[in-house]
Symmetry: C2
Subunit: 183 residues, 2 copies
Amino acid sequence: MPHIDVDTERPGIGGLLAFRPGPARPLLELAETLLRGPNSLSEGERELIVAHVSTLNDCTWSKRAHGAFAAALLDGGEELVASVCRDPRTAPVSAKMHALLDLAGAVTRSGKEVDSELVAEARRQGATDEEIHDTVLITASFCMFNRYVSGLGAAVPEDKSVYDELVEIRVKRGYLVLGGVEA
Amino acid sequence: MPHIDVDTERPGIGGLLAFRPGPARPLLELAETLLRGPNSLSEGERELIVAHVSTLNDCTWSKRAHGAFAAALLDGGEELVASVCRDPRTAPVSAKMHALLDLAGAVTRSGKEVDSELVAEARRQGATDEEIHDTVLITASFCMFNRYVSGLGAAVPEDKSVYDELVEIRVKRGYLVLGGVEA
């Protein structure tokens, strides 16, 4: 049960966004820019970082939703996403993604856990300054979204078809439609 | 030294926002809505929550900047802000603010630390659902901003006059001007 009186017909963060439309638009525009905007990291790679961070933060809603997005966008599908969420060190991803997932893990614990060696390793594996920046900001933003959803006790559906429908909307139409602020 | 090649002439988050203008606008619009938008919590109370959260996250930049904003906006000034950052339980704030600062502390640790008793106590002290929602989202958003700033090693000026200038812009013109995306 959510801690405040939101529309529980809207799953996960949806009920919270509808409760307070003021911040809903910038929150969704942030997700749209970071996760679907032009980027040298693929949309699937960015959603994989989100699934990893949401797993570390133990946010069931974001783990399920963004895990489903990553699985739909990446060749490795659900198996790849599960292996990253279980243990990114042994998951079959590129050396650059290993370094970026390590960086994301540090930021999730605390911004102060990032040291020059973590950043240098990402660079050695071919990450650009933009990719390092975006990995830190994507991670930081899900340290927000995860706390928003869990902190207000948002409803987390069990029914897999709910997430299948979210995948369809996110992939074809994007986060502003997903969050209900655009048709 | 920042971990990536940003303009170090721009203090704190400023260099990061200029490095990547895409997400800069929604980030600043989020801050503007949450901290300066219409609300039954005063701007000073909201900045006090941010100063508390930024202290818990040990983010020197946000602690100094938002501490200065809270001090400028609240009758208690710097002394009140320092007492909240030292120990919110003994700080001279209202019973409602005590409960909301407690809630913010829990969200900072993890969204899953929020239980129905913390929320019930805020309600007993007169907090509305909107105020509970906004306390959780303001806190969550600074778990993002703090990680963004610390995780990329943004420059933190020592010179007090830098923060005095930020106060002037934040109070009179707002976060979009402060972040350099509007004149």
